[in-house]
């Protein structure tokens, strides 16, 4: 016979205002098997927890029901208290009479009645609870970081410095990410490359970091502590071990007019190229789409068209016949740090949600550029060696108009979120422009200025007050080329007057979007993502760098628009989480996992077909002489995540899910 204790919490006034907690305790006290039923002001307080502990000892309770807030809030608290009194923590459950009752109903009678019902259902469930013990699973004590931008580099370095091996995978030929493209950074205006490059080199040279550049994650199997990751090393066409980065191949490449991705299309590169001079590793890659050798081959020509790079290479490192290779790495934890891409304002959008901005002439009016292109113009290592020259004729623009919120905060274009960094980098751009073109006038069209952050508001003020940027609150409705200038038609919402002005150049602060292919990657990792493709954190407040899949963490702009300090902070946070995780040889997991009743399993393996984790295995049942009698399904407790889909699928009901067994659910319904 069960000996259940019921503890009804007032939550101060939160529950007691609407629910007659004394009546709940009294009614539940009448239930068969309930031998102790009380109410108290704050069950989660120390005295409240002590009540639970004392009652367990005094009444030899076999189960505890706390009617209080959501189990998501305090289940851990009360299970800990239960364990503290020597009772298995899984014999404690919560009835939610706050979020699901007192807070959403006005009628005291109805709320009290509902609270009694809810508690009764949990009492009946708890009568069928079984003591459970945590599951121990071994841990592979190394980590994978996906993405070699500043977030990925930081995470990798922190984990490696903490003593664990890291596998860092970057899809581009070099690590560094977007930060390497930036000229200066806000709010200090220190040189982006100057602070980044040493970290890139450090990551490259770190004895505990294994770097895969020009590589992508092909597939991920396994589970927390035990991931098996397959990485596709794309064919670089250059032998990394032999290349010494001398650059002779690039010098002889006849195809030098390819728009450079690194320079956001403003500069040119060769078909065999290192993305930028400080690239890590400093090893070129052949762009097979653009290389004459490969293009001829793709067309079916048997003639060797070029091959100059291979001839020029003193080390014989150019290998045209290199193939993609797959390597597997065992890791215990994964960081997703894939960063962002910029919204492309043209009408042809990759997502049906996005509509594009035909009216801003990007791509048709040559002197309309985006923020990243401006970064490259302003960068000392950029195509203009740091001079602000407009793309159409190379003249120095004397009037530059900056448009904020291009895409961002515009639900009708499909992006309702704020991209967070644009206000700051636009302010930075106006300053960089003023510092380089002293007679120039920067004008900014903005919706709101969002400069929350240490030194951020001061920074935007400096742009306006010291560097004379003109900020106009309002939107631009149309812009077009008129001879040498760009005509701009807009509206100043503060003065309430239309604005018509000329500019030599227009810079669009386009929205931040997650990288292409995020949905596919998220599916490989079984992590959830929002409709834009940003990875969802496990909890927006309390678990900001974890994902819903144990062992997979998230850092930087792939989670939502982030600036550099945010990304770095997240990266260090993931590193800290992972170092904690990897500090153990074994992991403890909640024992809410499925198990098979082997005596009734009919081995149809429907469970195997529905299991998203591959947790169902085939198990041989043998007699004492070792002869195979039959095969049954068996659940790998380390892999099972406890969703219970197999239970509802099993025709013979031969599966159970600890914590949510059929008997428990049935009992709760019987108490309905």
């Amino acid at each position: 016979m069960s000996r259940i204790g019921v503890f009804v919490c007032h939550c101060g006034e939160n529950i007691a205002r609407t629910v007659d907690t004394a009546a709940v305790a009294q009614e539940c006290g009448k239930l068969p098997g309930v031998i102790h039923s009380v109410d108290y002001k704050y069950m989660c307080s120390d005295p409240g927890q002590l009540m639970v502990k004392q009652a367990i000892a005094e009444h030899k309770l076999t189960g505890v029901v706390v009617a209080a807030c959501s189990p998501h809030m305090h289940e851990k608290t009360f299970r800990r208290a239960t364990a503290g009194a020597g009772l298995n923590p899984f014999l404690c459950e919560m009835a939610n009479v706050r979020e699901h009752c007192s807070w959403i109903h006005e009628s005291r009678t109805a709320a009290t009645e509902k609270a009694i019902d809810a508690t009764r259902m949990i009492v009946e469930k708890v009568k069928r609870n079984a003591p459970l013990s945590p599951i121990h699973i071994p841990v592979t004590r190394r980590a994978l970081v996906i993405g070699g931008g500043i977030a990925g580099i930081q995470a990798a370095l922190d984990i490696a410095d903490g003593g664990r091996e890291v596998v860092l995978v970057e899809k581009e030929p070099s690590i560094g990410g977007h930060m390497s493209q930036l000229s200066e950074t806000f709010p200090t205006l220190d040189c982006s490359q100057c602070i980044l490059t040493p970290r890139m080199v450090e990551a490259f040279q770190h004895p505990r970091i294994k770097l895969y550049t020009y590589s992508e994650v092909e597939s991920v199997d396994g589970y927390i502590g035990n991931f098996k990751v397959t990485i596709r090393k794309k064919a670089r066409s250059v032998d990394e071990a032999n290349c010494n980065g001398c650059g002779a191949c690039q010098a002889v490449c006849p195809n030098k007019k390819i728009p450079s991705e690194f320079d956001a299309g403003l500069g040119k590169r060769s078909a065999i190229y290192v993305p930028f001079p400080q690239a890590v590793p400093n090893i070129p890659v052949i762009d097979r789409e653009r290389c004459s050798y490969f293009r001829a081959k793709a067309k079916g020509s048997t003639k060797v068209v070029c091959g100059k790079c291979a001839e020029a290479c003193g080390k014989g490192a150019v290998h045209f016949d290199q193939q993609d290779t797959l390597v597997t790495e065992d890791v215990g934890a994964i960081v997703v740090a894939t960063g962002y891409r910029l919204y492309d304002i043209g009408k042809d959008q990759d997502s049906e949600l996005l509509k594009g901005y035909g009216e801003y002439g990007y791509g048709t009016v040559p002197d309309v550029i985006d923020g990243m292109q401006f970064e490259r113009l302003a960068s000392a290592s950029g195509p203009t060696a740091g001079k602000i020259l407009r793309p159409s004729d190379g003249k120095e623009p004397t009037s530059v108009v900056f448009l904020q919120c291009i895409g961002s905060r515009d639900p009708s274009k499909g992006i309702e979120y704020c991209s967070k960094i644009c206000c700051m980098y636009v302010a930075k751009h106006t300053m960089l422009y003023k510092h380089k073109v002293h007679h120039g006038q920067a004008t900014v069209f903005y919706m709101d200025i969002r400069a929350a952050g240490k030194g951020y508001d001061e920074f935007t003020r400096r742009a306006i007050e010291e560097d004379g940027a003109r900020y106009v609150r309002g939107r631009v409705s149309r812009l077009y080329r008129d001879g040498e200038v760009i005509k701009i038609l807009g509206f100043d919402t503060l003065s309430g007057e239309p604005i018509e002005m000329d500019a030599d150049m227009v810079v669009l602060a386009t929205a931040m979007r997650p990288q292409a292919g995020m949905a596919e990657l998220a599916q490989k990792l079984s992590v959830s993502y929002d409709k834009h493709g940003f990875i969802n954190e496990a909890h927006p407040k309390l678990r900001p760098v974890e994902t819903n899949t144990a062992g997979v963490f998230v850092a930087g702009a792939c989670q939502s628009p982030r600036d550099i300090p945010d990304s770095v902070a997240m990266a260090s946070a993931t590193a800290s989480k992972i170092l904690g995780l990897l500090s153990n040889e074994q992991l403890e997991r909640e024992p809410t996992v499925a198990r098979v009743d082997e005596s009734t399993c009919s081995a149809c393996f429907h469970c195997e077909r529905v299991c998203a984790y591959g947790a169902v295995e085939h198990k041989d049942i043998r007699d004492r002489s070792g002869n195979l009698v039959r095969v049954v399904a068996s659940v790998n407790k380390g892999v099972c995540q406890g969703c219970g889909t197999c239970l509802a699928t099993c025709p013979s009901k031969s599966l159970e899910l600890d914590g949510f067994t059929d008997a428990q659910i049935h009992a709760a319904i019987m108490a309905f």
Partner: protein, 157 residues
């Protein structure tokens, strides 16, 4: 309708009105959390729902729904994560097939399918949860008590 009348109407004590009993089977990660959010946001709703928390809609066996009717439920809500949001990646897709078949079966058996609400309510849709609850209650209230099912036992020859 003024707020005061709205609240008055939500009280089961309202004289003479049929108060349906609704069982809800919800997943832990989306709808239960969404209902928590409804609570923290003080989204007011009618009190006729009794909830059973499951890890995932994938866990929800259609036997639960039948058992709820046997126990006197006038209506049932089944709710979980939106497609793509499942905490367990795929549980809700399997559940969706199961529910689709069950819904058609119920209809075929002559169980008014309006007695069962299937919904996707995410952890951020506290307001939607309130709407699903209130709409279901109103709909089932209009249908009246599920006497057809409740009297099956007595009607056995």
């Amino acid at each position: 309708m003024s707020t005061a009348t709205a609240i008055e109407n939500k009280s089961p004590a309202s004289a003479g009105r049929f108060e349906p009993r609704i069982a809800a089977f919800v997943c832990n990660w989306c709808t239960y959390t969404g209902a928590d959010l409804a609570g923290t946001s003080r989204v007011q709703m009618m009190p006729n729902v009794r909830m059973v928390r499951l890890p995932c809609t994938g866990r929800i066996d259609t036997a639960f729904i039948i058992k709820a009717f046997e126990r006197g439920a006038d209506g049932v809500i089944v709710s979980g994560c939106h497609p793509g949001d499942c905490h367990y990646s795929e549980g809700n897709y399997h559940a969706r097939r199961r529910f689709a078949m069950f819904k058609e079966l119920m209809n075929f058996m002559g169980i008014d399918e309006r007695r069962v609400t299937f919904s996707w309510v995410s952890a951020s849709e506290g307001r939607k949860w309130g709407d699903v609850v209130d709409e279901t209650i109103e709909r089932v209230r209009a249908l009246g008590p599920f006497d057809d099912y409740k009297t099956l036992l007595e009607e056995t020859p």
